[in-house]
């Protein structure tokens, strides 16, 4: 029957322990842009961070024993139900896949270390099939030592410093193509990266340059402050209608700006929606916020599609 067929399908795909997700999802439409495995590898790296820091003893013991379907239902009701144990025995594999079957809407096919809870992030949703591309990431880091900006500007090739205009050194590196503002207090802002890992790598490179210039720079409190993404819904949008129905969130002043500014409450993201169907999402601290915001706005925008 249907469930058995689904289970077989999942057995084939998940059963092999070295299954690597390569982005081959047929759920997406032709116009979408797939996230590279860099995003998914970032999830892996996040897991490693989590397993290092988290004390997982709070997880219930029953997660290790999964031979009853009723327990599986309990799991599926759990918020962080993306728990997935690699199939050590064949019986467990069936129940695991039945877990997965019940969680098909939040289905994640990543190889995971056991007992790692993960909030289900859905880069691919059944509704839109369009994934916003990240365009800019702004992050800050503390180098934790006072810096002599004049000497940095003198010794570095890629630095500019004009104290009358701005009280920081502007430094640029080629790979990843980013710009950094380095202040004399030792704080640094890194902008222009297209992903979180690139931003972190770029910030480390800047810190290394400062180190090589003779300052005892450290790398403390790296934090992503803002993420900007954009995408195209591929149909024109009636902004006047949208501002009428969503008055409390939107602001549309054609004499000031051609796009509609939509301030979403949950997640707290600002979207710029244009008549051409292009949407810019900004104000996120996490990638998932951008995806979530777009999934929230897509059905609203579809309602204003002119048939």
């Amino acid at each position: 029957d249907e469930e058995a067929a689904l289970e077989d399908f999942f057995d084939q795909t998940i059963g092999s322990s070295d299954y690597i997700f390569e982005g081959d999802l047929s759920l997406q439409g032709p116009a979408s842009q797939l996230p590279d495995s860099s995003y998914l590898s970032s999830i892996n790296s996040q897991e490693k961070d989590l397993t290092e820091d988290l004390d997982l003893s709070f997880l219930p013991d029953e997660l290790s024993v999964q031979d009853e379907p009723s327990r599986a239902e309990d799991l599926s009701r759990n918020e962080d139900s993306g728990v997935f144990c690699p199939p050590t025995e064949s019986t467990e594999a069936d129940t695991d896949s039945s877990n997965a079957v019940q969680n098909t809407s939040q289905f994640c096919t990543l190889p995971m270390t056991p007992m790692t809870p993960m909030t289900p992030m859905t880069p691919v949703a059944e509704s839109s099939g369009i994934i916003p591309q990240l365009q800019n990431i702004v992050s800050t880091v503390n180098l934790a030592c006072p810096l002599d900006l004049k000497s940095i500007a003198l010794q570095a090739r890629n630095a500019e410093y004009n104290p009358k205009r701005f009280a920081a050194v502007i430094m640029r590196i080629r790979e990843p193509r980013t710009t950094a503002l380095i202040f004399s207090s030792g704080k640094m802002v890194c902008t222009g990266a297209k992903s979180e890992e690139q931003s972190r790598l770029a910030a480390r490179k800047y810190a290394r340059v400062v180190q090589k210039l003779g300052f005892p720079a450290k790398f403390l409190d790296f934090k992503i402050q803002n993420m900007v993404g954009s995408c195209d819904v591929c149909f024109p949008i009636r902004l006047e209608g949208l501002v009428l129905t969503h008055q409390q969130f939107s602001s549309y002043e054609p004499e000031l700006f051609p796009g509609l500014i939509y301030r979403m409450v949950k997640p707290r993201i600002v979207l710029l929606i244009f008549v051409s169907g292009k949407v810019v999402l900004t104000g996120a601290k996490e990638r998932s916020e951008i995806y979530e915001a777009f999934e929230n706005i897509y059905p609203i925008l579809k309602g204003f599609r002119k048939q």
Binding site: A31, Q33, D36, S37, S38, S41, S42, S45, Q133, L154, Q155, A156, R157, N158, I173, E175, P176, K194, S195, E196, E197, Q198, S199, R200, L201, R204, K205, R208, V209, K212, L213, C234, F235, P236, I237, R238, L239, E240, V243, L244, Q247, S251, Y252, E253, P254, E255, L256, F257, P258, G259, F274, V275, S276, G277, K306
Partner: protein, 432 residues
């Protein structure tokens, strides 16, 4: 304080001030023994008990000069815009409230001037009296990039929410500003404002359906629409008048055409394009091609049947797209296999179709072959004229924790020789 009088020697000396001058007077003989100074010395002022003005509890302090100037400016603007006295009073009180807000109290004078205009704009919107921002910025002598931030700061500081106004709200007051009544111009050229309003609103509706209204400044579009409307109400007589001539005849409000004439001409051509696309679907064309220059003659018919024409145009376009793969590339044949007998397919080959055929050489302004826009007949112009295709660079795949090679970092650091050269050059430049 003297103890005895000089004249009579009595000790009955009392203090009896003459107005504000302290005096010590002998009661018996009346001589003034001693008197205080009318002026005070600095030490006396510091020690005295007189209270300076700024510490006094004087309730009504005189308002500052800029505030008064702002009031008179706001009142003058209200009178120019012919607002009711209620709204004028409301605007003035709102301006006072905004002026005393810390965000604006120490702002530059120009910002305070613009603030006056923004207060009027807000009050007008509250009272459902639609005024375009362009009008107010023209009266103030600024432009909308200057006015926009002040307006947004105003709404944010005072936590007020404005209602957005549509282009049709601005329409009526805009049309009434023209001087085209029968008593003002020749019979042939005159229209009552109401006729203008009706015709223009129908045109704006068609334009909105064709996506040339959303996201644009309303005033240039209104101006173009009024011009086409005026021409179409009496095409035989009025076709020969150019846009500039019309502005002079009708004494159009200056801000509409003085500054942004190029925009008005662009909107005019876009509007005429849309009308042509609809006009080509008319069943009773007599063999003349529908050209943008002469489409005003057909506007009457187009507007009466615009819904039907819109449906027809879209349907024909979709049919053409479907028949596209069946046709040969070289000649787009006019007669296709659709069953509309009375509707002739467009006499002039559809411009979108022409774009489809030579796919080999897509210039920068045309859409790429698989763009979703090809499926739509009416598109926002920003989609049709996409000048620059965004190129998504292939993403670097990094983990963020990779090793950073020393050579790469070295490449960003100057060698000692370079530093010396740089310092030498800097010294030479400073000496020169």
């Amino acid at each position: 304080m003297p103890s005895s009088c000089r004249e009579c020697g009595s000790s009955n000396v009392v203090r009896d001030d003459l107005y504000s001058q302290t005096q010590w007077v002998c009661e018996d003989c009346g001589t003034v023994s001693e008197e205080g100074h009318l002026t005070t010395t600095l030490s006396e002022e510091a020690m005295s008990r007189s209270v300076p003005y700024y510490l006094s509890t004087e309730a009504s302090k005189t308002p500052c000069r800029n505030l008064l100037a702002g009031f008179s400016r706001v009142r003058a603007l209200c009178r120019i815009l012919r607002l009711s006295s209620n709204m004028e009073a409301e605007a003035v009180s709102f301006f006072e409230r905004a002026y005393n807000h810390p965000n604006f109290l120490r702002a530059a004078l120009m910002k305070k001037e613009i603030l006056g205009g923004c207060c009027i704009l807000f009050v007008c919107r509250q009272g459902n009296w639609p005024i375009a921002m362009g009008t107010i910025s023209y009266l103030l002598g600024t432009d909308s990039p200057s006015m926009g931030p002040v307006y947004q700061e105003l709404t944010k500081s005072l936590n007020i929410k404005t209602t957005t106004q549509g282009i049709t709200d601005l329409l009526e007051s805009f049309c009434y500003e023209f001087k085209l009544r029968p008593e003002q111009v020749d019979e042939v050229l005159s229209e009552t404002p109401q006729q203008l309003v009706d015709r223009t609103s129908a045109l704006i509706e068609v334009a909105a359906e064709a996506w040339i209204v959303t996201g644009r400044h309303p005033l240039p579009l209104l101006m173009a629409a009024v011009y086409v409307a005026w021409q179409s109400l009496n095409p035989k007589a009025r076709m020969k008048y150019t846009f500039s001539a019309f502005c002079q005849i009708g004494k159009a409000p200056e801000q509409a055409w003085r500054r942004s004439k190029d925009t008005v001409m662009k909107r005019l051509s876009e509007l005429r394009e849309v009308l042509c696309k609809l006009g080509r679907q008319l069943p009773w064309l007599r063999g003349n091609t529908v050209e943008p220059n002469t489409v005003a003659t057909l506007v009457d018919d187009i507007l009466k049947n615009h819904r039907v024409l819109l449906l027809r145009a879209v349907r024909n376009y979709e049919e053409q797209l479907q028949n596209e793969p069946l046709k040969t590339e070289s000649t787009p044949s006019p007669g296709t296999t659709h069953d509309e007998n009375d509707t002739d397919p467009p006499k002039v080959t559809d411009p979108d179709q022409v774009e489809n055929a030579p796919d080999k050489e897509t210039s920068d302004t045309e859409l790429p072959p698989n763009h979703w826009g090809k499926r739509h007949l009416f598109l926002p112009p920003c989609v049709k004229n996409c000048k620059r295709q965004r190129v998504d660079e292939p993403q670097m795949e990094v983990t963020g924790d990779e090793d950073i090679s020393d050579s790469e970092i070295e490449s960003y650091i100057r060698s000692q020789a370079e530093i010396n050269m740089y310092l030498r050059a800097q010294n030479e430049l400073e000496e020169a």
